[in-house]
């Protein structure tokens, strides 16, 4: 094997650098959320928890968080389900109008969000489905399902197609083959799709501003703060969201490790 220690360490250091780049703004946001000054400045003004208190005391922020969570989870499940179906269809079948089907499935992310927001609001209000949490779910599933489809399709392209046929030839019905061959193979992609669609929904503010009306989500609130009242409250919300996701991710990691350990010992 061509192994070279310096190159290996160089690469690992590069990974570290990448993480530093990605997390630098998050770290800065965390630090400045404690800044007593309203506007970020160097050197720091002084330590203060006042912004945390203000955010915690604002019921509209809590409402926004609640809406964001409900929407995020619902969208993740729905979008991944739809995306899986579409990816599998693309993988296995051909039919008349397939290109159109794919275009329809992949089109939403290409539409600029401000325009999409207006168009969705126009449509949803005409059928009486605007202004609520359900409106955001509908719009977000439209926007996120293509991501799920792309990720799962990517995974399916790595599968040897004769596996499924082998299962059929051994007497399994299509449903059984799906359950025991396709789904397990796609499991990492399905998880990835769940996470990514939830993340996209979590952070989406433009379309949400239009269709949610008075029932806003957290990112819409952040946009409002950014464009209406610049203050460390923005950093507080950012930090809070970061800590929550960190916790969820660590939990997931622990759970997965336990399960694989259990499986290993169970064998």
């Amino acid at each position: 094997m061509n192994r070279s220690a310096p190159i290996d360490w160089g690469l690992r250091a590069y990974v570290g650098l990448t993480f530093a780049f990605v997390f630098a703004p998050i770290a800065a946001s965390f630090v400045f959320s404690f800044n007593v000054d309203r506007f970020p400045s160097l050197p720091l003004g002084g330590f203060s928890l006042t912004w945390y208190q203000q955010v915690a005391a604002d019921p509209l922020v809590w409402e926004g968080l609640r809406n964001t969570l409900i929407v995020g989870v619902t969208v993740a499940v729905l979008a991944t389900a739809l995306g899986f179906g579409a990816a599998y269809t693309d993988f296995r079948y051909k039919f008349f109008g397939k290109s159109l089907y794919l275009a329809l499935a992949l089109l939403p992310p290409t539409i600029p969000v401000v325009i999409l927001g207006l168009a969705m609001l126009a449509f949803l209000s005409n059928i009486g489905l605007s202004g609520g949490v359900h409106s955001i779910v509908i719009a977000h599933v439209v926007m996120c399902a293509p991501f799920a489809m792309a990720i799962i399709r990517l995974r399916l392209s790595q599968m040897d197609p004769s596996l499924e046929a082998a299962a059929w030839n051994l007497g399994a019905s299509q449903w059984v083959a799906m359950r025991h061959v396709i789904l397990p193979f796609c499991r990492p992609a399905i998880f990835a799709a769940l996470f990514i669609t939830m993340a996209v929904s979590f952070d989406e503010f433009a379309v949400s501003w239009f269709v949610s009306g008075l029932n806003e989500t957290l990112p819409v609130k952040v946009l409002g703060f950014l464009q209406g009242q610049v203050s460390p409250k923005i950093n507080v919300i950012g930090t809070f969201v970061f800590l929550t996701s960190m916790t969820l991710v660590i939990l997931a990691q622990v759970l997965l490790m336990k399960r694989s350990a259990g499986r290993a010992s169970g064998q």
């Binding site: 506007f39 207006l118 464009q227 209406g228």
Partner: protein, 377 residues
Amino acid sequence: MTHETVPSGTRRHFLKGATALAGGLLATPFLSRRAFAEPVELTMLAWYGHAEPDVVAAFEAENNVKFKPKYYTGGDNMLGLIAQSPPGTFDVILSDAEYVQQLNAAGYIEELDPADYRFDEYFPEFQQFPGHWQDGKLYSVLTRFGFLGVAYNTDAITEQEASTYNVYWSEKLTGKVGHFDWHLPNLGQISLLQGNPSPYDIDEDAWDALQEKMLTLRPQIGGFFDYGGTFSSLQNGQMLAMAGIGDWITGTLERNGAKVRSVIPEEGGLQWTESFSIGKGTAKADLAKKWIQYITSAQGQVKSANMVAYPALIPNKAGWELLAKETPEEAKRQGMLLDQPNNAVEMIRQGRIQYRQLPVQQSLEDWNDFWSDYKGS
């Protein structure tokens, strides 16, 4: 295993209790606000800050009302939102004077009865403010206003230097001048510099001259900023001067210790106004009216002038008197003391202030199209 022996009833009971506890914990911020009888909800469509506790808490407590705000970040998004929302979604609407005209032309606001409001307490200049009236009918009540001039970093340039729009072309500000990203106030300022007596009512020649002059400013410009960007750029010193804004931004920054100020230059300044209207089709017209009456009363006006999100001047004379008693420092800073030599109303009377409005002889599109061209040049 012992788990199975727990009777299901108890488990359900426990789950219910746990859920109730969790729900209670999550709802705590809500409970503190809704202690007694269910307050009536009033929806407000406005710029950020108009439904925050510092402005509305007293009114809410007295009338058992709870405001539900929808904050917008641009008048055009606001119009788009109203256009596509079911009528009656928004009870009160706050907008700039230019947008009142558009709201009215499109039929989104109710007609108002002037007798309901305290115009007699207003300074005479504000009693029949153009844009809020149409064919003698009232559609929107003026509640606050402000001036636009030269916003500058006090460490970089002196007030003397800043007292002319020509400072934007100054060599030491190359790349350090920013634009608030909206054509109307920026073009208006340059129009004033050109000496147009009515900056928004100019003929073809004046319009061509204005565009030419504007293009010469482009090399000086460091960036085009929205609200948040304007704040950060001025505050961290990235921009040393900002065109198209006034005290509504620098006042807030000043309050937080930043070294910035706005000054009305010798060529004159522009005036923006905000007003409240009642949304068409609202079910709570009476309560909406009550709110407008409150915010235009002396107490409400003081709250408006001192609004945390951004300060403003107020049109109610009784409000000036109350302000001088309650927060004399702020009254002096903004120029709202009745005995001040160059207070806000005096400036208007001296003709140093022109109202910001939609262009008269060109279409709004012409101005906006030029602004896009200017940005890309």
